[in-house]
Symmetry: C2
Subunit: 275 residues, 2 copies
């Protein structure tokens, strides 16, 4: 593991590391923000999963989350959104292949060799972080768009592993929207029953624990009615008696200006559960 | 003037406009953040001048300043860093030509046709902003690196026009550092006496007013001792009895992580003078 960026930020350190991932069988980069408190004690971790086309850079340069992480004493860990490298399968498409790993374990060729982002974000990366950084095993997770799908599905598939979850503009029902149908049919094959294992709106029906769950969704989001559909998740959660907070935010779109505007409240949401 | 971006952000609007600049004789883009207060009344303006290689995008996507502008009720206006377009002179260099206008009026061919960023940021843009947006004529100005040079020199050349000034990691003595010597010799010619008209460390010696002046400088900035030299400005200001606040910030480098970490204090510095 090699540190490739190291920058002072809000009294702590915004770092980026490169390492060899066993789950993904390729070299990966991830970002870690260590708040000032981490200089003298261990701190809990908020994981952030980014959306389509992103790397580990988007969130750390655009969201302004470090301010709030420093206020609360929470570390931020931000993985990339897919396996990377010349020998990793890809297509000329922003919503499939590199930059579009969808936080699942692919079962179909040519994707199955490297596209195991679920194992990476749910197991390998937390194990690495907890072994090598001054952090506790108290975990929370959030994300944006495809990363909101990742955060919700990882939490729902791993009872007992996280303290809280949140999402911005998440894809909540990938089996029922074009982005999800395209990715899931490529990565998981055409048998739709297998898709349910990564579909938050399916997973919430059988959830065995209740975590603090916050979703913010911009009402002016250009993808709201076609790709995101938080109403589907809300209905399923209501039916399952899983209390969630879904906030529709007038005027906001799908961009990081939206994330930046509310990330402080999300960090506070997680800090309350973590600390 | 055409609005090309319009995004909700911290209760206000982060917009980008394209217009024809008379001073620069080309099409330009600038960004405007209108805080929530601007929906019901006029607000003062903080101008931000960016550094080498930047456009109007860097500050608005990376600094997180909108949060503080919204708290205080201050608009942010962010121009590009040089004239733009296919017919604008350029060289294959990050520190001369496009992206490196140095906020001066060039006198030498081929630069003098378009490179008049001083007139643009000191006169044309404020006149446009004050005519077309819900703002007062209370102005403050800040900037980063080359833009810190811009902020300091524009203020010192225009007594009575601004209420306050600040800078992050500014080039303060362009006549005495490689970036400045390269740019000034190209834009202004080899007669160094003419350079003094844009050199903050020269200008402060004859300053006729005293504004609240704050400079933050990272001690781990890779350009501190070669290109920035805030000590030269501090010595000149002290000799001229111009009180300035120069803060050396341990650990911080030249990046927007540094700007983001302290922009809240800069916005507060300006809000105190503006409101």
């Amino acid at each position: 593991m090699e540190r490739i960026e190291h920058r002072a930020c809000f009294g702590g350190w915004q770092d980026v590391y490169r390492h060899r991932s066993a789950a993904l069988d390729c070299n990966m980069q991830f970002a870690v923000y260590l708040p000032p408190q981490a200089a003298s004690r261990v701190v809990p971790v908020l994981y952030w999963l980014s959306g389509l086309t992103c790397t580990e850079q988007n969130f750390i340069t655009k969201a302004g989350a470090q301010r709030y992480a420093a206020e609360h004493g929470v570390a931020l860990v931000v993985p990339d959104t897919s396996p990377r490298g010349d020998d990793v399968a890809d297509v000329d498409s922003y919503d499939l292949g590199k930059g579009a790993g969808f936080y699942l374990n692919a079962t179909q060729a040519p994707w199955s060799q490297h596209y195991r982002m679920y194992d990476y974000v749910a197991q390998e990366l937390p194990a690495l972080i907890e072994a090598r950084f001054p952090v506790t095993d108290a975990r929370a997770i959030s994300g944006h768009s495809m990363g909101g799908h990742g955060a919700l599905s990882v939490v729902l598939k791993n009872p007992g592993r996280y303290r809280s979850v949140s999402a911005f503009s998440p894809i909540v029902a990938p089996s029922h929207v074009p982005w999800g149908e395209k990715a899931f049919s490529a990565y998981l094959g055409d048998h739709r029953e297998t898709w349910k294992a990564y579909d938050a709106t399916e997973l919430v029906k059988a959830a065995s624990e209740r975590l603090p769950l916050l979703i913010d969704q911009g009402e002016a989001d250009e993808f709201l009615h076609t790709q995101l559909r938080p109403d589907l998740f809300k209905a399923a959660a209501d039916a399952a008696d899983y209390p969630i907070t879904l906030r529709m935010q007038p005027g906001y779109d799908h961009s990081y200006y939206f994330v930046a505007s509310f990330i402080g409240e999300h960090v506070a949401h997680h800090a309350k559960a973590l600390l």
